[in-house]
């Protein structure tokens, strides 16, 4: 596997920030329909990231085998390597769909909605919702 950790003496904060950036980049690529160049990824990430920072993260993820890339113009366009994600989904599916008491240790982002909840939520969001995804 990749062993790039040694090239950065890296404080905890630095490693942490890098980890967060990796998550952001992965989430962006998985959320997109098609491969993206480093510049496109940067435009979708919050904050003012340097182009080179994004490029570094992308090639690091590529080295780890988490992204695939192909030539696009002068650079590369990146897309997630989905086979690992598919494999993981297989493992998690039974847990998520059937629900076991192992769920006790997961903190889910959102809980189930009742019908009234759903209507209330629609109203709450449309009250101020102008921006779409």
């Amino acid at each position: 596997m990749d062993d790039r950790k040694s090239d950065e003496p890296g404080t905890t904060a630095g490693r942490r920030a890098r980890g967060e950036l990796e998550s952001g980049v992965l989430a962006t690529l998985y959320g997109a329909d098609e491969p993206m160049t480093a510049r496109q990824v940067r435009d979708r990430l919050p904050g003012d990231l340097a182009y080179t920072t994004v490029l570094t993260i992308l090639s690091r993820l590529h080295d780890k085998g988490m992204l695939v890339r192909h030539r696009a113009g002068r650079g590369y366009a990146y897309a997630p390597a989905r086979d690992e994600a598919t494999h993981t989904a297989e493992r998690m599916r039974s847990l998520l769909e059937h629900g076991t008491d192992r769920e006790a240790v997961l903190t889910r982002f959102v809980s189930e909605l009742s019908e009234e909840d759903e209507q209330l939520l629609q109203r709450l969001l449309s009250g101020r919702a102008d921006e779409g995804p």
């Binding site: 979708r44 085998g65 994600a85 993981t88 059937h98 629900g99 959102v110 189930e112 009742s114 209330l120």
Partner: protein
């Protein structure tokens, strides 16, 4: 003893009724800590009170009294508790301890499973993506913990909302929120009356993570929309039975995020802290009373023995039961 031993039981009930309501309205972070403190003290108080009540019954059994060399009649004279009450307390204590043992084993097993799962997830990134269309997102505690999100979830959120989702789950992992959950779950196993604390705790943990995400993203509305959109997407994709009937949790979170951050108020915390202090104090008081009761009874047994066996001077028999500050002149 007569009253103070029941105070922790009463306080556990008061907390179970009022703490969840108060916690939902307060700033989430201090509310989480308060609920944790409440659950800890209330369940220890519960166990302590039951143990003291059971003990007060135990010492009235003649065989036990003989072994411990105290006088049953002296114990009964100090009128500790009815034997039926003591018996019920002993049964409740057994049930509580058994419940705690079962819950602790189960929780430990789950946490171990989560830890293993964190290692097994592919890659060494904080985020692990599941290639499935149904929207899913959760934090998996481990060393280090992982954020697990499905592709379906990532695709239904905007750029800012994805960041909010990641910040939310990150807050769970950084804050070690699973430890709070464990504490509440165990306290509910000790005393089922404390279950509302556990429910409210789950809600305020989500609120804590929401607020932290809002600070991180710098926009409360974006986080509100992330939560709302994710919930709607999940419910429109409902292919599985409802798992947890946490009625209204999501709308409450969204509403709280659309409103300004909750103000910090001191009064509920002071009131809660006062209750916990009273709980500890009465438990200590009841313990001291039990101790004194036994000492008195031992002394009485001793004196009685001395009177019946005239040849032995009473001091030789009884002095080992004297308190340290008592007379020791015979030495």
């Amino acid at each position: 003893m007569l009253i103070s031993v029941y105070v922790p039981l009463l306080i556990a009930m008061v907390l179970a009724v009022f703490a969840p309501r108060a916690a939902r309205r307060l700033a989430p972070r201090p509310a989480v800590w308060s609920l944790a403190a409440a659950a800890l003290v209330a369940s220890l108080g519960w166990l302590g009170s039951l143990a003291l009540l059971a003990f007060a019954g135990l010492v009235q059994i003649p065989e036990v009294a003989e072994e411990g060399q105290w006088s049953v009649s002296a114990v009964r004279a100090s009128d500790p508790v009815y034997l039926t009450v003591a018996g019920a307390a002993a049964l409740a204590l057994l049930a509580s301890v058994a419940g705690l043992a079962v819950a602790a084993t189960r929780q430990l097993r789950h946490l171990r499973w989560a830890r293993r799962e964190c290692r097994l997830l592919p890659g060494d990134t904080e985020l692990a993506v599941l290639d499935m269309e149904s929207p899913e997102a959760f934090a998996l505690p481990g060393a280090p913990g992982r954020i697990v999100v499905s592709r379906g979830m990532l695709r239904c959120l905007s750029n800012g909302e994805r960041e909010a989702l990641l910040a939310h789950e990150r807050a769970h992992l950084r804050g070690r929120h699973h430890l709070f959950q464990t504490l509440w779950r165990l306290s509910a196993a000790v005393n089922p009356l404390l279950r509302p604390l556990s429910h409210a705790g789950g809600f305020v943990l989500e609120r804590w993570a929401d607020e932290e995400a809002a600070v991180r993203v710098g926009d409360r509305t974006v986080v509100a929309h992330a939560v709302g959109r994710a919930a709607l997407a999940t419910s429109s994709n409902r292919s599985r039975p409802a798992l947890a009937a946490t009625g209204g949790a999501v709308p409450q979170r969204v509403r709280a995020l659309l409103a300004p951050p909750p103000p910090r108020r001191a009064l509920p915390f002071v009131a809660g802290a006062a209750l916990l202090v009273v709980c500890c104090a009465s438990l200590a008081d009841a313990t001291t009373d039990s101790e004194e009761m036994i000492e008195t009874a031992q002394h009485a047994a001793c004196a009685a023995a001395a009177t019946s066996a005239r040849s032995v001077p009473p001091h030789d028999l009884c002095c080992r039961h004297e308190r340290p500050d008592g007379p020791v002149q015979h030495r």
